[in-house]
Every structure is written in C-alpha cells, then in structure tokens.
C-alpha cells in the first residue's frame, strides 16, 4: 500500500488516468442504464 502511494506521488499521470477512467465508467453506466430503461418502455409499449 505504502509503495503504491509513493508510486502514484512520483507518477502523477496515473492519478489523471484514474480520474479519467472513473469519469468514463460513470458516463458508461449512465448510458447503459438509459439503454436498459428505454428497452423496458419499448417492450411495455409493444404489449
């Protein structure tokens, strides 16, 4: 754990990477959820 923190302190680009990835995951799952919801309504409307 100690070494990981030290590593990140030395290579700050990885912190950027982690932040960007988190943002991307957030956006991805938001769109994913939206897709699911739309699908559900579509199926409901078909009936």
């Amino acid at each position: 754990m100690e070494t990981l923190v030290q590593f990140l302190e030395k290579n700050s680009i990885y912190i950027v990477l982690i932040i960007v990835l988190i943002v991307w995951f957030g956006i991805y799952f938001f769109i994913y959820g939206l897709d699911k919801k739309v699908k559900k309504i579509e199926e409901k409307l078909e009936k």
Binding site: I13, V20, L21, Y28, I31, Y32, I41, E42, L45
Partner: protein
C-alpha cells in the same frame, strides 16, 4: 448483437484512455509504450487522441443527418426524420466538444483561444449550420413540413462545404497539421517549421489514434441509436395518447 457493441465500446474506450494517457513521452522511444517527443508540445501532443475523433464525429453526424433527410424526402417516413434529427443533435454536442477542446489546447500551445485558422473557421461554420438547422426546426410546427424543410436546408448547407475546403487554405495561413506558413523574414509562403504542423505520427501513436477513432465512432452509433429510440418512444406515446 447490441450487447456486443456495448461491450466493445466499453473495452475500446477504456483501452484508448489507458494507452493514450499512460505512455511517457521520451526523446528517443525504445519500446512500444513510449511516444516520441515533439519539441514545444510534450504531453500536449496527446490531445490528438480525443480532439480529432470529436471533430471527425461532427462531420459524420452531419452527413448522417443529411442522408436520412434525403431518405425522408424519398420515403416520407417520419422515422427517417427522427434518425436524422437525433444524429444532428449528437453532432452539435460533438461540435461543441471539438471547438472547446481545441480552443483550450490552442491557448497553451499557440497563445490564444482562437486564431481563425482554416480548421477553426470551418468548425465554426459547422456550428453555425447546426445552429441554423435547429433554429429552423423550432420555427416549424407541422411535423411533415419540419422534416421536409430541414432536410432541404441540410442539403443546401452541405453544398457550400466544398467551397470552404477550397477557400480556407488560400485565404488564410493555418496552424493545424498540413497547413502552410509565412516565412517572417521573406514574406513567402513555405512549408511550416511549426512543431505542430510538421507533426508526423509515430507508428505506435498511429495505432492508438485509429483505435480511438473507431472507439468514438462506435460510441457515437450507440448514442445515436439510443436517442433515436427515445424520440421514437416519445412519438409513439403521443400518438397513443391522442388515440385514446
């Protein structure tokens, strides 16, 4: 089929983010995970992996909007218009993203946010065309008429783009890669010495670049499909409500 697309988009974009942010920039790259140093750019060279795909998608979205507009004119099928408008709506988002990312980057590389460089001008005109397209749509309340006239407008606006491609390089001196530059001592136009303009992509950067282009294009198609479906749902619900 759809789930494959979703997973591919997820994996590809994650990969692109890692591959474009992590590799260090070194003067003489020895292994695959090192990008070559371009004097004056350093880490800022990495913008190419994000900025260019957004600009590319702006154009693709416009083309798709126009093609489905033409298809509407042929078939009179209102669903084609929905496909057209959802593509245009995404296009305007990517257009803003391309403008903003480019402009922020330009501030720190070229010194100010806006230069009226040929590419900057063309993205600005695209922004205007998108704006006019939506202004026109909002001023028409008959669905059929709205679809028809906005399709016509997108065709007319598209016809002017070759002129910009032809005009811009002659009219102004560019800062983007591939543009010309004026020699300050002689006043002659010459091939540029600007680091950005001489910019030639290294092999490994090119791989990441095309990977990114594919990833963002797939993301676009997913988003396009999604927003089209939302519009279609809204339309069907309204029709049903009117009938009952």
């Amino acid at each position: 089929m759809k789930s494959i697309l979703r997973i591919t988009v997820f994996v590809l974009i994650t990969l692109v983010l890692i591959l474009s942010i992590v590799p260090p920039i070194v003067e003489t790259p020895k292994n695959f995970f090192e990008f070559p140093l371009i004097p004056g750019l350093e880490d800022k060279a990495k913008i190419i992996f994000f900025h260019v795909p957004t600009a590319w998608l702006t154009v693709i979205a416009y083309l798709i909007a126009m093609l489905y507009g033409i298809r509407f004119l042929k078939t009179k099928d209102i669903y084609n218009d929905m496909k057209s408008v959802s593509s245009a709506a995404l296009g305007i988002v990517f257009c803003f993203l391309a403008t903003l990312t480019g402009s922020v980057w330009a501030k720190f590389t070229w010194g100010s946010f806006w230069h009226w460089d040929p590419r900057e001008t063309s993205i600005f005109i695209l922004l205007l065309i998108y704006g006019a397209y939506f202004a026109l749509r909002s001023a028409l309340d008959n669905e059929e008429k709205r679809a028809r006239l906005s399709a016509i407008y997108s065709i007319l606006a598209f016809l002017t783009t070759p002129f910009f491609i032809f005009i811009m390089p002659r009219l102004m001196i560019g800062l983007h890669p591939g543009a010309l530059e004026i020699d300050p001592t002689t006043g002659q136009v010459k091939a540029s010495s600007n680091p950005v303009i001489k910019f030639e992509m290294a092999e490994n950067m090119r791989v990441v670049f095309f990977l990114s282009l594919t990833a963002f294009t797939l993301l676009f198609f997913w988003l396009w499909n999604l927003s089209y479906r939302v519009l279609r749902l809204k339309y069907k619900l309204q029709t049903e409500m009117q009938e009952s």
